[in-house]
Symmetry: C2
């Protein structure tokens, strides 16, 4: 039977938004490898191999390291729903959309949530965090490494020791950073981490790598109540992902896991240091080129993410019109601003397979034509 | 770069277990179509088209009809977490693993859950349901159409009117039935339904079609509390799936949605009546062939599902040994029994693309060799 016209008409778009990023051919090939059973020993061997690769990527020894069967937001919810109980005190650092989402998720679970607010576009201030941890005891502190909504990086490396000294679990969102810049889970004393498949890993959206430290696991194991969310209950999921005899929880998203496995292999084979250097170089090149067009960046130098670049929309330019024209006439997707930044910035992603100089050239040339005509 | 050895070594398995089922070539092709953005107008057009096709498949006019970004169990949790609140009274019919899972999920949400228990392998008894609804008022009643753990079909068509008379929402699990036998959501007065992509729809696991009636929507809209689960909060998800201006909730699993769209198109193009007849004929052929080998079925005639066939393991036969040999030597996967049926039955799936006579011939010939040598 012929393919659905809606599928066969799908265009090839240069994905330079906040994710998904461009998917390499090997990952497409892996996605359409033959589906086998979720308890087939050959699938279990592939799960084991993916676990090991995710540990390497996260620079962690945590045995509880696996992809959750949902997108990055499911990973975020996984961390909270397993590690907090009703009335627990939670501190969330908010400097963009995703800190706000953490606050929402923790509140829905009945936690007592305090926030530390920072301007959108600025990093979280570790001094302020240290101050707050001295004032009050928290079960868990949550911070976003790379705020996808603003393009700011926060100094997550230095906050873990503060948390441990305060007997507080340390939760870090690495949805946008993982695979594009260094993430050192163990060295940074991070207790729970989550990411997404569709950013710097360049696999399609749908999976969220998650890892829990021994301290996080101990917290999970001494819960007084069942995890309220069945689908994300790590105490059951771990029995499918670990041990000699695997226990079915839900049917794993087999082909998505093929794609992620292949995507992470590509990153590790290129080499982490090389991959991070490539992201940084391409980012610097983009900024230089944009500044050459008279454009300015939202985030101050020194706090900019390499993989997510927030560009101030010049006065008099039709923000949405440029994006729409880029997509339909040039086949390039970039992102809009969210929340208070809606209409004020463009978000240009240089994630994973997208982070290449020729893509920057193509985008900058198109923007040049659109803003100077 | 060459494909990961773990991916390139994946065998082609004839999937005759309880799901995933064999994936047709067109669906593999769709899975690896170019990933585009989750807010790209061409992706939104594809979402709209999939919604319409799911409505046709479910025989419903419900505008809230969409695939959730998780497997069937996430669909199950979606229905409960959106439609009940703490201390609501819930009645769950249990005649296998998945009724039990419903009870677990509803209990975690703080509902007061009563169960009606039926023997594993028997259908739910509508008379017993009617009796219980007269005794007590329930916010919601939940029943599994096709119990994947036993192969029994329950008379779900007749229970909807009882629920409506009792002012009770009616929730039906169609994970295994949808696309393999008739499901008439509106005619049967079903208020909430969920299914899975990897059974009779023959797309890989990872998505769960869900539909809510106007009554269910009204219940969602008059909640006193926020939906406790952020990822599955339908009040937010609907803003991404409906309306002129789509609001980002989480990044949709783009390529999985391509696969499901193509899979549902294949079912509709073959024609629902033809597809159901094919499942029934192949099921009858399988039963006849198995009985010819001296094997017997767990479920009594008249209550058997066409797409999931539970076969009693003959005395003296190594249940797990036969399954393992089928997989490694014949390249055929069948399923084991779960819970009280572990070690006692084999579960043979005839789902979607798998439901063809030549597959039955291949399986029966292999079983014959294994149990007679």
């Amino acid at each position: 039977m012929p393919l659905s016209p809606k599928i066969s008409a799908l265009p090839s778009v240069l994905l330079m938004g906040p994710g998904p990023s461009c998917v390499p051919p090997e990952v497409y090939q892996a996605l359409s490898a033959p589906c086998i059973g979720h308890l087939d020993p050959r699938f279990i061997a592939l799960m084991d191999s993916l676990k090991t690769d995710l540990q390497t990527l996260l620079r962690t020894q945590n045995h509880l390291t696996l992809p959750m069967s949902g997108t990055g937001s499911a990973g975020m919810e996984t961390c909270f729903v397993n590690l907090i109980e009703k009335d627990d005190h939670v501190l969330v650092c908010v400097n963009g959309v995703f800190g706000g989402r953490m606050q929402d998720i923790a509140s829905r679970l009945g936690a007592q949530v305090d926030t530390l607010e920072f301007p959108w576009g600025a990093p979280v201030d570790a001094e302020a965090v240290a101050g707050q941890l001295k004032k009050k005891h928290y079960s868990i502190l949550a911070v976003v490494h790379a705020e996808t909504s603003t393009g700011a990086v926060s100094p997550v490396a230095g906050i873990g020791e503060l948390c441990h000294a305060a007997d507080t679990l340390y939760l870090v969102d690495t949805v946008t950073s993982l695979g594009g810049m260094d993430v050192r889970m163990d060295e940074w004393h991070v207790d729970a981490i989550y990411s997404g498949s569709q950013k710097c890993l360049s696999s399609p959206p749908g999976l969220s790598p998650v890892s829990f430290s021994e301290r996080a696991l101990a917290r999970l194991n001494r819960r007084a109540s069942k995890v309220p969310n069945w689908y994300l209950d790590m105490s059951m999921i771990v029995k499918y992902w670990e041990g000699a005899k695997r226990v079915y929880h839900h049917t794993a998203p087999i082909n998505m896991i093929y794609g992620l496995h292949q995507a992470v292999r590509l990153v590790l084979e290129e080499g982490l240091e090389k991959v991070f250097a490539r992201h940084l170089q391409v980012h610097e090149y983009l900024v230089e080129q944009l500044q050459g067009l008279g454009l300015s960046m939202l985030v101050a130098e020194g706090h900019r993410l390499p993989m997510l670049n927030a560009v101030n929309v010049p006065v008099g330019i039709d923000e949405a019109g440029v994006r729409s024209c880029l997509l339909t006439e040039y086949g390039i997707e970039i992102g809009a601003g969210l929340g208070p930044l809606a209409g004020k910035i463009w978000r240009i992603g240089l994630m994973g397979h997208t982070a290449r100089k020729e893509n920057v050239d193509r985008l900058v040339e198109a923007i040049k034509q659109l803003i100077t005509t």
